[in-house]
């Protein structure tokens, strides 16, 4: 496994497109993790300009342990497409340069080849999760009013859920990449699927009140694993836990993408 990851890192890291996309992703994560408080302060100063002194957005406890984990993960997952693109780029390049064929000729099995991409997806998901954890710790320790070991780690299972979300999503992008083989078309399809197809079906299911359709939409299901926590700040009820059926659904999709991706590569002539 280490050998396959090593090969994969040697392949992608010197690539400018890959570095650019992953740096963009990291920067986006830092900005959203660090930027909320300055943003709230800015809003407060604007409100003061309009003599609305009564409203103070900075009292929104975005960074309060343990709520911070759900807050951060539910926002950070928006940027998953940047990471997905970098992965699509790396897999479609293997097809357009035909290096997948040379890799197999050189002594990698087809199974090992696609496994190296899957391990890379796992590595990216794990690295994002660790980054988010570190950012959460820093900002939480800075802004939390109450700090204790218990409070810090109480809801940290959201980080694990975030990892599962991201990994399943990246497996989906790998499947699209393996299926389409052309980078631009694969990226286009990815955006089209997420924005048009899934939203279209979602709206249809809402209008017609057919709830089960939602569960057939992989990206919606993945996104739904961590519920949006922000309505609670206007005193609405939210789900502040990870529900087992939703988790099983996401794991099911992840497993399906894993199986389909491997099968596609192994059965195909290169």
């Amino acid at each position: 496994m280490i050998r396959l990851l090593k090969i994969e890192l040697k392949k992608v890291w010197p690539s400018r497109a890959f570095r650019l996309l992953s740096i963009m992703y990291m920067v986006a994560m830092v900005i959203i993790a660090m930027g909320v408080m300055p943003f709230l302060r800015w809003m407060k100063s604007k409100f003061e300009d309009f003599d609305l002194d009564g409203i103070d957005p900075t009292i929104i406890p975005f960074y309060e342990f343990p709520d911070i984990w759900q807050n951060l993960t539910s926002v950070a997952i928006w940027f998953k497409l940047l990471l997905g693109f970098s992965l699509v780029f790396s897999i479609t390049n293997e097809f357009s340069y035909r290096t997948i064929r040379q890799n197999v000729i050189d002594g990698l099995s087809k199974h090992e080849f696609i496994l190296s991409k899957i391990i890379m997806a796992g590595f990216l998901a794990a690295a994002s999760t660790v980054t988010l954890f570190v950012l959460g710790l820093i900002t939480g320790l800075m802004y939390s009013t109450e700090i204790s070991f218990m409070l810090i780690f109480e809801d940290s299972f959201f980080l694990l859920a975030f990892f599962i979300q991201l990994f399943s999503f990246l497996l989906f992008t790998l499947l699209i990449g393996v299926l389409i083989k052309k980078s631009i078309i694969a990226m286009g399809l990815l955006v089209f699927w997420i924005l048009a197809v899934e939203n279209g079906f979602y709206i249809y299911s809402q209008v017609k009140k057919i709830e089960w359709i939602e569960y057939l939409l992989p990206i919606k299901s993945i996104n739904a694993l961590i519920h949006n926590p922000f309505p609670k700040y206007v005193f609405m009820e939210i789900q502040d836990w990870v529900a087992l059926p939703e988790l099983l659904l996401v794991l099911g999709y992840g497993g399906l993408f894993y199986w389909a991706t491997i099968r596609l590569v192994v059965k195909r002539d290169l």
Partner: protein
């Protein structure tokens, strides 16, 4: 001698098209084996299957007497069609990835780069290489694992004459070190210069399999020129040759067994003609190849 590769009844069908149809072949240790055939005769398909990138429709093959797998491929150095590397990586970085795949120590990278004469450009990106350098890098990559077998598919494709000569010398020096080499090519001159054995494929079928040294055997042919009007008449009257053919100002004689150019010379001299041009022509592989293909076409009708 040990058998390196044995192929039994290997076939690949794409719908109705038979890219390869029941191929049987054996390659022994130390052979330099040429696979010849016109474009689209199934050479690359065959190599693709024995390297596990194309799934066969039917048949089996064995490497070193074992079923093929990643472990056997690590003992083979192979290039299919044009050189394939990551264009945004340097020559050295590309070879290091191959080292990781083949589980070979990185020290080999500099050794093989030196061997193919690329050490000066090892830190340039692959996409900046000339075609000749790309071909040399792919040979370097095939040499990384000190392979027992090398497979080269059109190794001199698209090279200039100097590049072709360089690659040929490289192949000969590798062959001299006792390695088994399998070369697919449609450049017959090439195969004749480096190979010990050859086979001919046509439309997915094996139509010939034999030794390169046997190619020259058979009837001798002699080319004659002379500044004498009687030449045609005199030559026509002699019974040294089976057949006589005129090409511009020269006559090509296909000799009877046991007669040589010396006999022609003596005969002409006896008839008062001095030849100004007398050449013994050994049959080239090219000629043999075309004959084999022609026989095959003839046999079909």
């Amino acid at each position: 001698m040990d058998t390196v590769l044995s192929i039994k009844g290997l076939s690949k069908h794409y719908g109705k098209i038979k890219a390869l149809d029941g191929l049987n072949l054996e390659v022994k240790k130390g052979n330099v084996f040429g696979i010849l055939g016109p474009n689209g005769s199934g050479k690359t398909t065959t190599l693709g299957m024995i390297l596990d990138v194309i799934n066969p429709t039917a048949g089996q093959f064995e490497w070193f007497g074992k079923k093929s797998g990643p472990a056997t491929r690590k003992r083979i150095g192979a290039i299919l069609e044009h050189p394939i590397f990551y264009p945004y990586l340097t020559g050295r970085q590309n070879l290091m990835i191959v080292c990781d795949i083949k589980q070979v120590p990185y020290e080999r990278v500099d050794e093989v780069l030196l061997q193919v004469g690329l050490e000066e450009r090892k830190n340039s990106k692959f996409k900046t290489y000339s075609l000749g350098m790309k071909q040399r890098l792919s040979i370097a990559s095939a040499l990384l694992c000190d392979p027992e077998v090398m497979i080269l598919d059109e190794p001199t494709n698209g090279l200039d004459p100097q590049g072709i000569a360089e690659i040929r010398d490289l192949i000969i020096s590798i062959a001299n070190s006792g390695k088994t080499i399998i070369i697919a090519s449609h450049l017959l001159d090439e195969v004749q210069k480096v190979c010990t054995h050859f086979c001919v494929l046509q439309r997915g079928k094996l139509i010939y399999n034999g030794l390169v040294e046997d190619v020259g055997k058979g009837n001798l042919s002699v080319e004659v020129k002379a500044d004498d009007e009687r030449l045609e008449e005199v030559l026509g009257a002699c019974n040294l040759h089976l057949e006589m053919k005129r090409e511009l100002d020269k006559y090509i004689l296909t000799m009877h067994d046991g007669y040589s150019a010396a006999d022609v010379n003596k005969y002409l001299f006896d008839h008062g003609i001095t030849a100004k041009h007398l050449i013994v022509k050994t049959k080239s592989l090219e000629k043999q190849f075309l004959e084999i293909l022609k026989d095959q076409e003839g046999g079909k009708q």
